[in-house]
């Protein structure tokens, strides 16, 4: 049996976070009553006016292309992609075919301790189509309803080079892309609302070969998991076909999340070509050096350089740096807490285990977290100063997480301050020793475990507030006698 290598390229559509559509002033807000965010232009009414480009959409797309290390065209054009479909009001989609905004970029992914560069073929601006709602199943529906609120919402399409070879690489690329877009703030990248959509081109070739096999285009993957599973399934399907000596049919296939298989979509009346030609109603647009500079300067530190900086400046392990830079907000949170509490690794441990643990349990995002970075820093300071124990700190943190209160206030109100007064502790230690003669005997007969029991008893008596280190020392001292 021959061994095959998969060749995977992704086409990612991302809705830009503008207030208005690409060519008209209609709102892009999600979730409005159907067909209430449309005008004669985006509804494709005859005589409905000419397109007027949204400046912010171009700026966001430019920001995207720059963040993805693309070469920027000094002049861009818009072209019509002509085809008939119910969600396409004008009978063509305005996109960029001949002179796209960005070309030849890349993103890096970290896989198996290695950094791999995935090429970006191009980044371009285009308009979205409307949305169709089927009456029940698409196969049995007698008619469909069409909502044009989404028609002409600005998108950037990011086309990768076919540089990926496993579902995991595809997933990592998509995650890195999403993370980058969130860092630069051009999209909310919500796959479930369709503001980030991913199609995959997949083909197989004999391992070691440089050529490209027949590809299929995989659509309808609505989550990261679906992207992984869909690609995995399609590779398996193609492998089976080739191993049985068959040929892969070039076609568009849909991922079916429920059944976990890909299905061919039949559409007999697909145009033989899209007849791309320059849109006569949109003159070319110059992208000046000055404009590029201005946009470039508005790009914040991106995940890659932040990752490197976290390792170099804070001495963090690469795992920690990876987790902490996985979103811009988390990285920002970490660095703000660091302003208060200057122990990078301790802080990282706390964020990764306690904070992310609670966020995960409550299915929340860092932006929803009530604990202010400054307060988390102070909490950790209180541990280091011996005011509270690490164990108490966890209880305090839970309350901070639930209420957003300051650690000092919680500690004060609940009287959780650590008992470090030698006189007080000595009295309690003596009481415990008197109450547990058996354990004292055990200790003297060489059973070290007995010490642990006695420490536990002191802690229990003090509701955990006793300074554990001092309790230990006092017990050993008393037991010597």
């Amino acid at each position: 049996m021959s061994t095959f290598e998969a060749v995977i390229g992704l086409e990612v559509h991302v809705e830009l976070l503008t207030a208005t559509k690409l060519f008209c002033g209609c709102s892009t807000a999600f979730g409005a009553t159907p067909n209430t965010q449309v005008c004669p232009f985006c509804l494709g009414l005859p005589g409905g006016g000419t397109p007027v480009l949204n400046k912010r959409a171009v700026e966001y797309a430019l920001k995207t292309a720059l963040a993805l290390n693309c070469q920027i065209s000094p002049e861009i054009t818009f072209d019509r992609k002509n085809y008939f479909y119910a969600d396409l009001p004008k009978g063509y989609q305005t996109t960029q075919h001949f002179q796209p905004l960005g070309k030849k970029g890349y993103l890096t992914i970290n896989i198996k301790e290695e950094t791999k560069r995935i090429g970006i073929h191009q980044v371009h601006i285009e308009e979205d189509a409307g949305k169709m709602v089927h009456m029940g199943d698409i196969l049995s529906t007698p008619f469909s309803r069409v909502d044009f609120n989404r028609a002409s919402v600005p998108l950037v399409e990011i086309v990768s080079e076919p540089d990926m070879h496993t579902p995991e690489e595809a997933r990592l690329f998509l995650q890195k892309l999403r993370n980058t877009l969130l860092y630069i703030g051009v999209s909310d990248c919500k796959m479930e609302e369709g503001s980030l959509r991913c199609d995959a081109n997949i083909s197989l070739r004999p391992l070691g070969s440089k050529g490209l096999g027949v590809k299929t285009e995989l659509k309808n993957m609505n989550s990261f998991r679906a992207v992984y599973r869909g690609i995995e399934h399609e590779i398996e399907r193609q492998t089976r076909i080739l191993q049985e000596g068959g040929e892969v049919t070039p076609q568009t296939r849909h991922w079916d999340e429920e059944t976990g298989v890909t299905k061919a979509m039949r559409d007999k009346l697909v145009a033989e070509s899209y007849r791309y030609f320059p849109d006569p109603t949109l003159p070319p647009l110059k992208i000046s050096e000055e404009w590029q500079m201005e946009i470039r300067s508005s790009i914040p530190e991106l995940p890659d350089s932040r990752y490197t900086r976290f390792i170099q400046d804070y001495n963090l392990p690469s795992y920690d740096a990876d987790v902490l830079t996985a979103s811009r907000e988390l990285g920002d949170y970490y660095e703000r807490a660091l302003d208060t509490y200057r122990e990078p690794k301790n802080l990282s441990n706390w964020i990764m285990s306690e904070l992310l643990g609670l966020l995960n349990t409550h299915n929340m995002d860092i932006v929803d977290c009530k604990v202010k970075p400054h307060d988390l820093g102070n909490l950790l300071k209180l541990i280091d100063e011996g005011t509270i124990s690490g164990r108490i700190a966890k209880t305090v943190f839970e309350e901070m997480f639930a209420t957003g209160k300051k650690p000092e206030a919680i500690i004060k109100k609940k009287g959780l301050t650590q008992i470090s007064d030698e006189g007080t502790l000595l009295k309690i230690v003596e009481e415990i020793l008197a109450d547990n003669p058996g354990s004292v005997e055990d200790y003297h007969s060489g059973k070290d475990r007995a010490l642990g029991f006695l420490v536990g008893q002191v802690m229990k008596k003090t509701k955990g507030q006793a300074n554990p280190q001092m309790v230990n020392e006092l017990l050993r001292e008393k037991l010597k006698k």
């Binding site: 009414l45 019509r80 006569p280």
Partner: protein, 487 residues
């Protein structure tokens, strides 16, 4: 009525309205009576009715105190591919027969704000595709000079018959000017983008421009002044202020250098009558002391072919919104794509179906480079030829059409690509240059015509030469084509 608006220039009508020498109510009644009669004779309207005219009169009465209305009470006809929110806009297509836009074209608002009175929406070829007849869902328009001949468009017929003082219609490969030449009226196609295209239902966006029809130069100048106002936020209009056209006409430039392309007599279907008339006019211009030079423009003769290559592909795309989903006619179909085919096959005329199929063919990968792309490059070449010619000359002169109004019995053209009527006109659409068609009148014969093309943004030169010729030819000016004055 003491004064008949049909005998007056726009400026005189506005003055008479302001001086209460014309009563709005009477004007409305007369217009409706004459429109009814003209419609019966010529089939020039798609939409006009008494209620709308009454509404217009009411609106104008409210305008009366406003002394700045340069077009107060001036009757206006509007081609039915320019959107109005109070009247259907059908583009003379069955598909569009019930279409009621929820907006009004900017040009219409501009003229109305200046007091113009919109009589109604006029007939045209379906989506203004040529003016050789045969595709309007509402049948052909008859020529007021000869009912056996085509008028080319309802807008031109409305102006020629004295019904409308001004009309607006669009010009893709010369339709506005061709119809003007068939009907003996003036037509001005301004520089591409000089007048807003907002609200125009265009078949070929890069070629098509709204233009003005009228009976005298001063009327065109006033209308152009009102319309040529830059529209910020619209990349398809020119962001430049227009010069004061009316005052430029008062002191006309008289030393025009005029170029005539040597290929002027190579048009297919060139009628001897047109040829002789043109030669005679060249002598007249010489007598007037104007410098006339013959120039070689190697690709001027290909303009119509090239414009057709481009127009067909743009039409294929521009009309793709006509799918029976959001507006328009709809046939039933077992599924979506079948519904499209049924709807469009029955909604469009045979001529239009063939034209967009032609555009679909020439934009497939097989023909894209050799036809559409090549056409776009030839367009550059033709524009450059015109540019360099008009860098040394003020105006380019040709006939407007190679033939006079074609008769219904023996149409000169119709089914062929390209329409031979566009031989002289298409170059101005390809280059975006302004052009003007000037009517010539003869005793007992159909009107003839001259076409002038000026460099981009130089509409003033066109108005000045027209004004000059108007003075020379004033004695030849005949009565109206159709006797509506007694109606």
């Amino acid at each position: 009525m003491d004064l008949d608006f049909a005998n007056l220039m726009a400026e005189q009508i506005a003055a008479a309205m302001k001086g209460k020498k014309i009563s709005p109510a009477e004007l409305g009644d007369t217009l409706f009576r004459r429109s009814t009669r003209a419609q019966k004779e010529l089939n020039l309207f798609i939409s006009f009715d008494q209620k709308h005219i009454a509404g217009e009169i009411k609106r104008i009465e409210q305008h009366l105190p406003d002394k700045n209305c340069s077009l107060l009470g001036v009757p206006l006809a509007l081609a039915d591919n320019i959107a109005t929110d109070d009247q259907k806009t059908t583009c003379a297509s069955r598909f569009m027969a019930a279409y009621q836009p929820p907006f009004t074209a900017r040009v219409v608002s501009q003229l109305k704000e200046n007091g113009a009175l919109l009589i109604g929406k006029t007939n045209l070829e379906e989506f203004n595709l040529g003016c050789s007849g045969g595709s309007s869902f509402f049948n052909s328009v008859k020529n007021p000079w000869d009912l056996e001949c085509s008028a080319g468009s309802g807008a031109a017929a409305a102006v020629a018959s004295g019904l409308a003082t001004l009309a607006l219609a669009s010009d893709t490969r010369g339709e506005l000017r061709q119809a003007a030449s068939y009907c003996g009226v003036l037509a001005l196609k301004p520089t591409y983008g000089r007048i807003s295209r907002k609200g125009l239902i265009d078949i070929a966006s890069s070629l098509e421009q709204i233009g003005i029809l009228g009976r005298c130069t001063s009327d065109l100048a006033i209308a152009l002044q009102v319309l040529a106002v830059p529209e910020p936020d619209n990349p398809s209009t020119l962001q430049i202020e227009a010069p004061p056209y009316a005052s430029l006409l008062e002191k006309p430039e008289e030393n025009f250098k005029i170029a005539v392309p040597t290929c002027w007599n190579e048009a297919s279907h060139l009628q001897d009558e047109v040829k002789n008339d043109f030669q005679e006019q060249l002598e007249n211009l010489d007598k007037l002391g104007l410098e006339v030079n013959f120039v070689t423009l190697p690709h001027f003769k290909d303009a119509s072919l090239v414009a057709t290559m481009i127009c067909a592909v743009e039409a294929f795309s521009n009309l793709s919104n006509m799918d029976g989903v959001r507006f328009g006619h709809r046939e039933t179909g077992k599924h979506l794509q079948e519904m499209y085919i049924e709807t469009r096959s029955r909604g469009f005329s045979s001529k239009l179906k063939k034209f967009i199929t032609f555009g679909g063919l020439t934009s497939t990968p097989k023909y894209y480079d050799t036809f559409f792309r090549r056409g776009q490059k030839l367009r550059t070449l033709i524009s450059r030829e015109l540019e360099s010619c008009l860098a040394e000359n003020d105006l380019l002169l040709t006939p407007t059409t190679p033939f006079k109004a074609p008769s219904f019995a023996a149409p000169v053209s119709g089914k062929e690509f390209p329409d031979p009527a566009g031989y002289y006109t298409a170059a101005a659409n390809l280059s975006g240059f302004p052009a003007l068609s000037f009517p010539l009148f003869y005793e007992g014969r159909l009107p003839g015509n001259l076409q002038f093309i000026a460099p981009r943004k130089h509409e003033a030169a066109l108005l000045q030469i027209a004004s000059l010729l108007e003075k020379e030819f004033s004695s030849h000016r005949p009565k109206f084509a159709l006797s509506l004055q007694e109606v």
